[in-house]
Symmetry: C2
Subunit: 397 residues, 2 copies
Amino acid sequence: MEISERAKNTQSSPIRKLYPYAEKAEQNGKTVLYVNIGQPDIATPPEAMGMLKNFDKEVLAYSPSTGYYSLRNKISNYFDKYRIDINAEEIAVTTGGSEAVLFSLAAVCDPGDNILVAEPFYANYKSIAQMLGIDIKSITTRIEDGFHFTSKSQIEEKIDERTRAILICNPSNPTGTVYSHNEIEWIVELAKEKDLFIISDEVYREFRYTERDFVSPLHYREVEDRVIVTDSISKRFSSCGARIGFLISKNSDVIEAITKFAMARLSPPSLEQFLAETEFGLSDEYFKDIVNEYRLRKNAFIEELSGTDGVVFPDPEGAFYIIVKFTGVESEDFAKFLLQDFSINDVTVMVAPAKGFYNSKGLGEDEVRVAFVLTSSKMKLAAKILREGYFAYRKMM
Amino acid sequence: MEISERAKNTQSSPIRKLYPYAEKAEQNGKTVLYVNIGQPDIATPPEAMGMLKNFDKEVLAYSPSTGYYSLRNKISNYFDKYRIDINAEEIAVTTGGSEAVLFSLAAVCDPGDNILVAEPFYANYKSIAQMLGIDIKSITTRIEDGFHFTSKSQIEEKIDERTRAILICNPSNPTGTVYSHNEIEWIVELAKEKDLFIISDEVYREFRYTERDFVSPLHYREVEDRVIVTDSISKRFSSCGARIGFLISKNSDVIEAITKFAMARLSPPSLEQFLAETEFGLSDEYFKDIVNEYRLRKNAFIEELSGTDGVVFPDPEGAFYIIVKFTGVESEDFAKFLLQDFSINDVTVMVAPAKGFYNSKGLGEDEVRVAFVLTSSKMKLAAKILREGYFAYRKMM
């Protein structure tokens, strides 16, 4: 018996596949700086963690399929400051942001349909699409443009008769790009003109280092029934292991469809919904401190690396990632080299080869993704190891 | 813009759709006995709940995609008493048993493929299959046969060129059937003869009221690479809200495929894996007490209801459900009648109409499913309300 084609075609995570090399480096006595994965070292808010200890129910029971009303209500209040008017009935709590993407794609696409996604993109979009029999058509963006869209036609020319939605990640993992007012408007116009949904993954909404206001497709009333926003507490509140995400839609057909999918898996984790409820009650001061911390980390990393011959990167506008081009390397080989053959005072670094974030073959071969998930001094050291490692690697070429 | 066909075709949960009527009954001052849903009132093991309070990590981080090794190791030990030899690498922890079913179906079926399932079956199988573009072909079993298979050919004649797997739920939700040695052997033989996978959902493994040994397809070495067992802590340890399930396969291609799907959703909930680890360490005494409690509930219910003219049911051999036929009723109408128009001392009952558990139109119209999730005295009262309600309903017919 054979496994399914969809299983065969699903790729391994480009973020996780080099772990065996990192393990070996550690066995050889090296310290590895893990900047390959978006697992922040920031503490989960202690007030929220404390709530777990106060949980006093006898039975850990199912929650409603789309989450506790009290949590959905807190989420609805949180959007006030973004001037986005959402009520609890337009929100479905999901098991992580991943399930929000899974349900959104399943609600708007049938097998054989396609969605447009700017590449490089979060690799799991592809795995989720493959699981559902959906194709991804990629709009290639370039490092020289800060991974921004350069024209409306660049997006439009990829639309065909099976295209059902445009999926954006804003601020973007893996590029750190925050889309401009113009870019969002292009997408909004195309959704209207070509009768498409817009799926807007906004898990990094707070993580922005520009002065520009945040623009969501949900700000455009004329397409509000076409927009599905996916979101998560994982990064925002450093609660990755909680597996609490959510999605928003003002389209009642979409919410009804997603409720049916949600019923099929019964409920998201109950206990962590109380954690999330506490987190959405935190003051804005919480975000200020966190975003400032990530800004310092980002700056420490790029200051150390800037001016290096052959090394190209944009200054990330948001999220906590950067794509760095090391001209001439084959990035998976370079990543392995760093883990196997290079260190400074027995410290080395693990990065994610960026080609796994591209859909088009041959792109991103000399790029890596770095996550600002360690302290500023460690990020500075990671940059130094990357620079010196690059010099050493080039000598061998 | 239109939502997807798969979303339109997905049914609402037959277990949950009558809640608005129950809410109204409560608003009218009635007490509702909820025997429609498998949410036990049994306490989650206090030792395991206590573990949540002792959790002292600062960051609630992702776990490995297929779960913590320590939990998988505990699960592997638990299977010793069933004489099933499984190692931690053959286990993947999932977000509830539902995700174990989702991943299993995605791993073995492409869109347009089909699986065989005995009807009546757990309704969420259909929703999950629909999400993945997979068809369900049902093997109809009858209440008069205790919902057992009656011959190998009954199963065989449903197999066609797109059939990829036979899915069984053993002990069965919603019927309470525990398959015999013979029935499992028919399935094992057909898997070999027709080159099929066997997906065996065994979340109720401990819940058996017969003296027969439990037989899993995994006991048959000759098909061990064809078997995927899905499982969950939800019912076994009354931990429905924890969302911890798992699956087992000795086929490395299947485990590799499922690991890729698991990576796409990052990880199951972290905290509850520690809860599950404590639970799998409980002694067999724990199960004895629980199973005995369910046996008492079942007996209280069927003793009260037996001998009622027009009421037909088998004595459930396992799980904690029973399908009851009320000859002549339309069961959804009957369920609404109980909530709206009938009560004894202001107490009424909510049941799940059974037609939602059938794939074939027209079947199960006069059957309901009852879950033994309340104390014996409440189950006895539920049976009394059903009997008297049935008499009252018949008078109106």
